[in-house]
């Protein structure tokens, strides 16, 4: 089994309802995502998952030099940011891609699939 990071990308800061067009759509996406999470647990793929607050609430800390530098905002200036993620276990990439497709449909966002280092 390999662990994969499934991260959801979208213009999270877009409007009143984030990337969603309306309150109803947002609620529907939350509901579908909740159901997807449950099914991940039932099928034994679940490791961890979480939704993130909007990117403007982020802070970057750079401790690579003598003085620690703290900057307001996300690391990359971008219109699109990671809005949430799953960590799943799957037997191979085909299975991980199939899970990502389900997750993408549920949360209504494109999902990036990336393997974790195995050792």
């Amino acid at each position: 089994m390999t662990q994969y990071l499934l991260s959801v990308h979208g213009s999270v800061d877009a409007g009143e309802f984030g990337p969603y067009e309306s309150h109803e759509q947002m609620m529907k996406a939350f509901e579908d995502t909740g159901r997807f999470n449950e099914s991940l647990q039932e099928r034994g793929h679940w490791v961890f998952a979480g939704g993130l607050m909007p990117a403007h609430t982020a802070t970057v800390v750079d401790g690579t030099r003598d003085d620690v530098v703290v900057t307001d905002g996300p690391y990359l200036e971008s219109k699109e940011h990671v809005g949430g993620f799953w960590v799943v276990e799957a037997k191979d990439l085909d299975e991980a891609l199939a899970l990502a497709a389900e997750g993408s449909r549920a949360c209504r966002g494109a999902v990036e699939v990336r393997p974790f280092q195995s050792e």
Binding site: Y4, K91, L93, V113, R114, P115
Partner: protein, 433 residues
Amino acid sequence: MTDEEQPTDGEAVTARIERLHREEFGRIVAALARRFGDLGLAEEVTQDSFAEAVRRWPADGVPPHPPGWLATTARNRALDRVRRESTRDARHQEAHVLHGLPGDGARGSYGGSYGGTDDSALTSIPDERLRLLFTCCHPALAPATRVALTLRLLGGLTVPEIAAAFLVEERAMAQRITRAKQKIAAARIPYRVPSDAELPDRLGGVLATLYLVFNEGYLPRRGDEAVRTDLCAEAIRLTRVLRGLMPDEPEVMGLLALMLLTEARRSARVVDGRLVPLAEQDRSRWDADLVAEGHALVRECLRRHRAGLGHPGHHQLLAAVNAVHTDAPTAAETDWSQLRALYDQLYAVTPTPVVALNRALVVAELEGAGAGLGLVEGLAGTLDGYQPFHVARADLLRRLGRSDESREAYARAVAMTDNDAERDFLRARSEEA
């Protein structure tokens, strides 16, 4: 040459090794990849095994069963490497995981595991090339990467050869291939033939990759050669292998027929470095054997459809189009209404503007250049960035005597190609407008 003959002549040995390289490289890589679960290792030891043959055979003579010798040498090197590595246990375990999945989704006939260490198993290596082909053409890899990997691991072409064929810097090509192998290992792209449910989609990716290799050889986008025969030959060779491995897939048959019927016209299409359009080709220069083989495959496809085994797919229809062209003794005798019917079917399967453009050119033959141009103009919005659109438009305008507009269209088409032979051809045509 039989296995018993021992060529003493160095050149004969070299030629023998070259032929074995083409025929056996992919097979050995595929078998070892399955056994050790490590594509990079499989590739390196297979390469080493051929290098060893180059060193030893001219002096020692060719062994009695050369493919078995090459496979055994490669396998022994792989075993040595695995034993030597300090991460031996981890690697063994990893190999085990990949190796231990023969059943999952694989079609029964291809799922046979490659067990045993005795040499009898090695001399009759199960053909694992189908798995390797599906791995190299996985949808998680970019199309250009699929092409490079397929040529390297199945075709046995060297990195410099692939880089040269695609006019890419050698270092960039090496990096592309290394990264792809890394991704296959790290992301665990499975080493298996897709299940029946996934097969139509996934097979499409494999066929598209092989056709990309062929087209890059047939219609090079850049350079001073009108055709790069080595790529065409390699694409046909690999498609023949695929046909042997999946003899009942009509789209594989269709793709092979399409390539053969296109390749058959090569020596008539480029004469003294000049491009000759289909209508003006000397048809006696077409390769009659390739035409016959292509026609036989198209007939076999037709028989299956008449027997009610599904509808013809994209490649079969394109092959049928080429069969109609190659069936006509002269350009004037081309069965254009048959072609229109085929393009109608093709548009139903693949409703793309490119298919619509080709259909418009058939309409131009049946109903006149004006009718064709009307349809072509309707595609201007979507095909403005597509060079053959401007070639088609220029040609129809020329036939209608609208010289100024035609020359303008030819100028755009010339500006959009980097192939010297095609540029010369279009310039000459423009002057006739």
